[in-house]
Symmetry: C2
Subunit: 248 residues, 2 copies
């Protein structure tokens, strides 16, 4: 288009990679071209280069997905690998002690990004898995991260409106703000079937060396479980992880 300057090759290529996400782990050529607003031949050329090099792979049905080379590169990202490694023994302890699912999440933009997940023996159904995203207002980890993030993020989310997942989801900004105040006071957040009917969670903040909240660790359990009684355990685990982050 004459009015719009052509994007650089680098940005075009990266825009192809950026089209892959948890909602669309596989895509056709046409879908990628549409999402990147690139002509088919251009998208086709980029995909050819990426699949030849092993960064993407082409499935028998012609769709594309992330390949081994990107997976391997992803394993090199230390921001979460170190945190995960530090956190894992405490999360395993927590899972052993409570027999429930345990998760670790970090704030990423306007969502909670799950960077570690250990399914419990009783394996309550959660939407979360490593790499998965959770809303900030409806989950334990999300509330912990939102409480620490400051009022600007809350405002921005409020403007967009909060999505209701169940009849228990808190979608009124004032009510949520008060809820988050309590989270800050008590260093623990609950989600009582606010995300998924039948599932509750209790989360606590993991802090870095200057006390800033860098992650949240949570227990996810069936709603029949008395999660108030699990609050102490998750806070203890979060404290242990926090201490580890400060030792390094």
């Amino acid at each position: 288009m004459a009015a719009e300057p052509r994007r650089s090759v680098v940005r075009r290529l990266l825009s192809v990679l950026a089209t892959f996400d948890t909602m669309t782990p596989t895509q056709s050529l046409t879908e990628i071209a549409a999402r990147t607003e690139l002509p088919l031949p251009t998208a086709h050329r980029f995909l050819a280069e990426l699949t030849t090099g092993g960064w993407l792979e082409r499935l028998p049905d012609g769709r594309y997905r992330v390949g081994l080379r990107l997976w391997k590169l992803g394993t090199l990202a230390p921001s979460y690998r170190n945190l995960r490694e530090l956190a894992l023994p405490y999360m395993q302890d927590l899972q052993h002690a409570t027999r429930e699912s345990v998760q670790l999440a970090v704030l990423d933009g306007r969502t909670a990004l799950c960077v570690e997940n250990i399914n419990g023996v009783r394996s309550v159904s959660t939407m979360s898995r490593i790499g998965g995203r959770l809303p900030l207002h409806a989950t334990g980890t999300g509330k912990v991260l939102l409480a620490a993030a400051g009022t600007e993020l809350l405002k921005a989310l409020a403007e967009k409106g909060f999505r209701r997942f169940t009849r228990y989801t808190i979608i009124e900004p004032g009510r949520l703000a008060r809820n988050l105040e309590a989270v800050r006071d008590e260093q623990v957040a609950f989600s009582r079937e606010e995300m998924t009917l039948g599932a509750c969670s209790v989360a606590s903040p993991v802090t870095g060396e200057s006390g800033e909240v860098i992650a949240a660790v949570s227990i996810v359990a069936h709603s029949s479980v008395d999660i108030d009684r699990l609050a102490f355990a998750v806070r203890t685990a979060a404290s242990g992880i926090s201490r580890q982050t400060r030792l390094l």
Copy 2:
């Protein structure tokens, strides 16, 4: 250089990404330019684009490492994520039962690529972590994968020569071939301080729907542990994981 045609932009950019690996998770501009054989200004431009977009991040000391966006992309690669998810409950069971470290690895080129690792309570020191690579001739998982890979790979490795890690490492091709024959017969492989003094492992193959070996699961323990007694447990776990791969 006039005699050598200029590489495409796409290949140059990808060559920058390809310089990151487990040995060099962080690098300076100069190191990247040297490894990619790109002029400094060119490498600098690519790095600027990649860091602006969140694919790489620049550390306070000026070095670069893989960023969140590549980490997230990496989590989308299904080849190992699904296998990991399938395997994790069995690996956790194995770890609970034995209290030792448990690993899952796949064949990648001429190495065993660790795609999952659960540290044991007794946490024997291993070189392995997720994304890490292990030699095929000296580790339990490596032998399982090499045994299944056919004689061509063994020949190719023998030509290159086997590296000795400890005085117990098997580096004679004939002796290794007989060892692998036993692995195929018994569906279990041992490494008795062949990789690391003080560490032993026992591994068993995970098979796909057509019986082909797609991964190996292993227990890694201190050499004082009687790992022969753990062989049945790891074979059971491998069978369970194999059954799961066939149900999907």
